[in-house]
């Protein structure tokens, strides 16, 4: 649809931005797509992290349960907070983005 910001030719130094608005728009939509990618990657990350303890049993000394509990709940909290942050950012990006991607009417 739109080019990533990398596709925008660099502005000569000292010259004011001639087409300020399109650049902003592109950056907004780019940012929004990155956020959606992140939202999609989040459950995969959680999945991998929560399956990681399965590989711990091969260690010489058995893993203490308290450590695993702290690990699992720590990830849980982290994922929830990351999701909250993403939802907030996505909401903000949607409000300003001129390309709503069929998100809301």
């Amino acid at each position: 649809m739109t080019r990533p910001p990398g596709g925008v030719p660099p502005r000569p130094p000292g010259k004011p931005p001639a087409r300020h608005a399109p650049f902003q728009i592109e950056r907004q939509s780019f940012r929004r797509r990155r956020l959606i990618d992140a939202a999609c990657a989040l459950p995969l990350l959680g999945w991998v992290l929560w399956w990681l303890p399965l590989l711990w049993r091969g260690a010489d000394a058995p893993m203490p349960a308290s450590l695993v509990l702290v690990y699992i709940f720590g990830i849980w909290l982290g994922l929830a907070l990351a999701a909250a942050r993403l939802v907030r950012l996505l909401g903000g990006a949607r409000n300003t983005s001129p390309l709503p991607e069929g998100d809301d009417p």
Binding site: I36, A39, C40, L42, P43, L44, G46, W47, W50, W51, P53, L54, W56, R57, P62, M63, P64, A65, S66, L67, V68, L69, V70, I72, F73, W76, L77, L79, A80, L81, A83, A84, L86, V87, L90, G91, G102, D103, D104, P105
Partner: protein, 894 residues
């Protein structure tokens, strides 16, 4: 006994509170104060019905028995919620766009509104949910018994508690679950009550956890140390079960009828989902945070052999914390009730929509029914279904008698409903999925689940003979229920999950690949897979208003704003509503449909109105009718187009004719003035010279002669002019007599050339002839024909403007016709004059006007009389005339 009375009083007070909350929410909804009812936090809390009494009591039991495996039950749903962008967002939008009322409805709608699939999913859901409801009743009964004198668990089934709980819940669900028949199946009262229950159970569990961690164990560090020192102290988990149960719980989270009800059906807007995406994982985390501390402390402090499923209650009781125990009881009670209520609503919707109503409608087929009639039947069938579902749950409980640990039943049910997952995911992501595939997949998954997990769960020898477990049915070892095809995971659950989901998916994909989808199925598939939010904005709380607005928007598009507004105003007045939109009553819809049909056709109008009101879905027949209408319109417009093309052709012809007439008229006018001039000039000389002759005395004889011959010449000129006019008039009126004789063309041309060039002295035009071609005998009026030739030759002589004028006379014999071409090397006749030169009075140029412009007109009349034709040949260099003559002149004059 007093404790039991207290419990009963607390329970009743709690249920009364729920009634109050639900009632208040319904009232608020009806008066339109909906903002807080639709708040994302309410939606998020309502999702907590995932945490049932099984979770509340059973998780601690599971932790005490199996260590950390209980966590997977929460981790799976957390992942699903965190990945809301992948599945839930789409599912929720489909639910809103298609007005899905249950998971059975979703599957049935997606696969071409197949009622067979709807029935299948409904049966699966009922079988999967009944033990679950029994589980809730059992947990309430067990928890009540904890407070009374110790009773052996075996006798628990005899208690009447379960019956009264079931009956009470049935009443609550009937009252708030079937209050209104909303197209969207949203129950604001129930959802609000569930949100309150979510808070109660979380508070209870957290309070107990805080008491255990800080009250009994002495802080976080001490608790962690205690965990490490206990039986659960080292990280030990079955890899297969950790992965399998996480997947299973994630699948069940999407497929459980009650979860689908709160996740999709009760969903109102995307904002709710966005909050739930992060808040619900947090809720689940809070719910599971204190499970291990409670389990470890219970194992430490309570006597050997205590039921770990009841640690939540027995632990505070053993420490003398009656209040905390009561709070925990209330938490467990609310977990059980909220699950039962929503499950009953979801199941009753499915049973009523997919089993009872189709049967009733079939029985009533042919008899006319009023719409209010059906409405009451639907409500009644819902109510009966609710009662039936709860009765089933109670019977299951009473018959099984609280035999197994709580967690086992829960996982068996999970596996059952997870069979819907492949069909569900395929339905919303794969357009190629078909009804046949879905049926095959569900059948395969369901039968393997029943055979490998559900029936064996009753124990060897109960339903399936014990010999089957050892040697397989009829001694076929490959078909042993717990080691299908020789594969054993050392775990019944994993074995069943593996085989049922694998074969389910294979059958689904295979069936879809090898079957064709009906048109309706393809249509629905496309709509589901490419579901976008367009047009699916948050529906208004007041359904009817939203519909009327949608209808208004659509009508404006079709009829135009003024007419649409007038129509709606008129209908609103007819309904007695002033200044509002009319309610979408059947009468109004009929009127509207009729109005729209005038513009877009009856079938299209029906489909459009049906689509918006959601009552009637578009059937394939409707679509066919729409296509028919469209074809008719296209044919009609094609005919119109042909007619208009013909009209424009005729118009062009008329325009050309008119142009010609105008030019002729102009020429005639010009000629009239010309001929007056022509007549006047000789007349003037005749008058002048005759006056001279009369009045002048003494004229010489020579003068008299000169003047007399001038008068004579002029009179001759006049006579010639009048002769020409007369000649033409005679020819035109067909009164001429042809004098047919035989002659050679060469002779006729010779005579014509010499006559035409006779009065030309020397500087004449050079005539080029090829005499070979002229040796043709003709039967014709020789005099008249030579008159035509003379006219053509003298025209060439007069008008050819070349330096050295030349005239070619070319004779060709062409299939019984003789073509005589007269071609000069001048500039020819101007294109705009070409089609009028044969008209009377036409003259090419004024300045060279030697004659009256009648020559060619006379020639044309003559040639026509002779059975030929004369035409002007364009683009031959100079002026070129062609005379076409029949070789055998047989045509006589009339």
């Amino acid at each position: 006994m007093s404790t039991l009375n207290l419990l009963a009083a607390i329970s009743i007070a709690y249920v009364a509170l729920l009634f109050g909350v639900a009632f208040f929410a319904e009232r608020a909804a009806q008066s339109g104060r909906v903002r807080w009812l639709r708040a994302p936090i309410v939606y998020t809390l309502s999702l907590s019905i995932y945490c049932t009494a099984w979770t509340f009591y059973g998780a601690v039991g599971s932790a005490a028995r199996n260590g950390f495996e209980y966590l997977t039950i929460y981790l799976g749903p957390s992942l699903v919620m965190l990945g809301w962008w992948w599945i839930l967002r789409k599912l929720v939008r489909i639910g809103r766009n298609q007005r899905i009322t249950s998971i059975a409805d979703l599957i049935s709608s997606r696969y071409g509104k197949s009622n067979l699939l709807g029935i299948g999913v409904t049966i699966l859901a009922v079988i999967g949910t009944t033990p679950y409801i029994a589980l809730q009743l059992q947990s309430v009964t067990l928890s009540v018994e904890v407070f009374s004198e110790p009773v052996p668990i075996e006798e628990a089934g005899n208690s009447l508690t379960a019956f009264w709980v079931a009956a009470g819940l049935a009443v609550f669900t009937v009252i708030f679950g079937t209050r209104n028949l909303d197209a969207n199946e949203r129950h604001h009262g129930v959802v609000m009550a569930i949100a309150v229950e979510a808070v109660v159970k979380l508070t209870a569990l957290v309070a107990l956890g805080v008491f255990v961690v800080w009250g009994l164990s002495g802080g976080v560090a001490a608790t962690l140390a205690r965990i490490d020192a206990s039986e659960l102290g080292t990280w030990q988990v079955n890899n297969g079960r950790w992965a399998g149960v996480m997947l299973l719980s994630a699948a069940a989270f999407l497929c459980l009828p009650r979860m689908f009800q709160v996740l999709v059906v009760e969903n109102d807007n995307d904002a709710q989902l966005r909050m739930a995406a992060w808040a619900f994982p947090l809720y689940l985390m809070a719910m599971s945070l204190f499970i291990v501390p409670i389990a470890v402390t219970g194992l430490d402090l309570l006597p050997e052999g205590s039921n770990p499923d009841l640690f939540v209650l027995t632990l505070p009781l053993s420490q003398g914390q009656e209040g905390l125990a009561l709070l925990a009881f209330l938490g467990g009670f609310s977990s059980a009730t909220s699950m039962v209520i929503v499950a009953a609503i979801a199941l009753s919707t499915m049973v009523s929509n997919h089993i009872v109503m189709p049967v009733w409608l079939r029985l009533r087929e042919g008899t006319a029914s009023v719409s209010g009639d059906v409405r009451n039947v639907v409500l009644l069938s819902r109510r009966l279904s609710i009662a039936g579902v709860l009765l089933l749950g109670y019977l299951y409980y009473a018959l099984s008698g609280g035999r197994t640990e709580l967690a086992a039943i829960g996982l068996i049910a999970f596996t059952g409903v997870a069979q819907v997952l492949p069909v569900l995911m395929g339905g919303i992501f794969w357009r190629g999925a078909t009804r046949v595939g879905a049926l095959a997949g569900l059948t395969a998954g369901f039968s393997i689940w029943v055979y490998t997990l559900y029936l064996p769960s009753f124990g060897p020898g109960t339903v399936l003979p014990a010999s089957w477990f050892a040697d397989g049915p009829l001694g076929i070892t490959l078909l042993r229920p717990e080691a299908l095809f020789g594969v054993s995971f050392d775990d019944k659950l994993l074995h069943a999950v593996f085989w049922s989901l694998l074969l389910n998916t294979l059958a689904f994909v295979g069936g879809s690949l090898f079957s064709a989808a009906s048109p309706l199925e393809r249509l629905q598939g496309a709509q589901f897979v490419s579901a976008r939010a367009a047009g699916a904005g948050p529906r208004s709380w007041l359904q009817s208003t939203a519909e009327s607005e949608d209808l208004m928007v659509m009508t404006q598009r079709i009829l135009g704003p003024d007419e649409a507004q007038a129509l709606f105003l008129r209908e609103a007045r007819a309904q007695g509503l002033e200044g509002e939109l009319p309610a979408p009553t059947p009468e109004f819809l009929q009127v509207l449909e009729r109005e729209l049909a005038g513009s877009v056709g009856a079938a299209t109008a029906h489909a459009m109105v049906g689509q918006i009101t959601g009552g009637a879905m578009v059937s394939v027949e409707d679509l066919m009718a729409v296509a028919d209408e469209t074809a008719q319109m296209m044919e009609y417009s094609a005919r119109l187009e042909a007619q208009s093309l013909e009209l424009s052709r005729t118009a062009a012809q008329l325009r050309r004719a008119n142009d010609k007439l105008t030019r002729l008229s102009v020429q005639k006018d010009a000629f009239l003035s010309q001929i007056s001039h022509e007549l006047r000039t000789p007349m003037s000389s005749i008058r002048a010279f005759s006056e001279i002759l009369r009045d002048t005395q003494g004229l010489t004889r020579a003068d008299q002669n000169r003047y007399a011959s001038i008068i004579h010449d002029e009179a001759m000129r006049l006579t010639r002019l009048l002769d020409d006019l007369l000649d033409l008039s005679v020819l035109e009126n067909g009164q001429v007599n042809l004098n047919l004789t035989e002659g050679r063309l060469e002779d006729i041309l010779d005579r014509a050339v010499s006559a035409a060039l006779a009065d030309e002295a020397g500087s004449g035009i050079r005539v080029i002839r090829r005499r070979v071609g002229e040796q043709v005998r003709l039967t014709t009026d020789v005099e008249r024909l030579s008159q035509v030739f003379i006219n053509l030759i003298s025209n060439a002589r007069k008008y050819c403007d070349a330096e050295a004028p030349e005239l070619q006379i070319v004779v060709t014999d062409a299939r019984g016709q003789l073509l005589v071409d007269f071609i000069d090397n001048g500039s020819g006749v101007a294109p705009e004059a070409q089609d009028v030169i044969f008209e009377k009075f036409a003259r090419v140029s004024d300045q060279k006007a030697g004659g009256a412009g009648l020559g060619l007109a006379i020639s044309r009349q003559i040639v026509t009389r002779l059975g030929g034709e004369i035409s002007y040949l364009a683009d031959r260099g100079g002026a070129a005339f062609r005379v076409v003559l029949p070789v055998r002149q047989e045509m006589a004059a009339q």
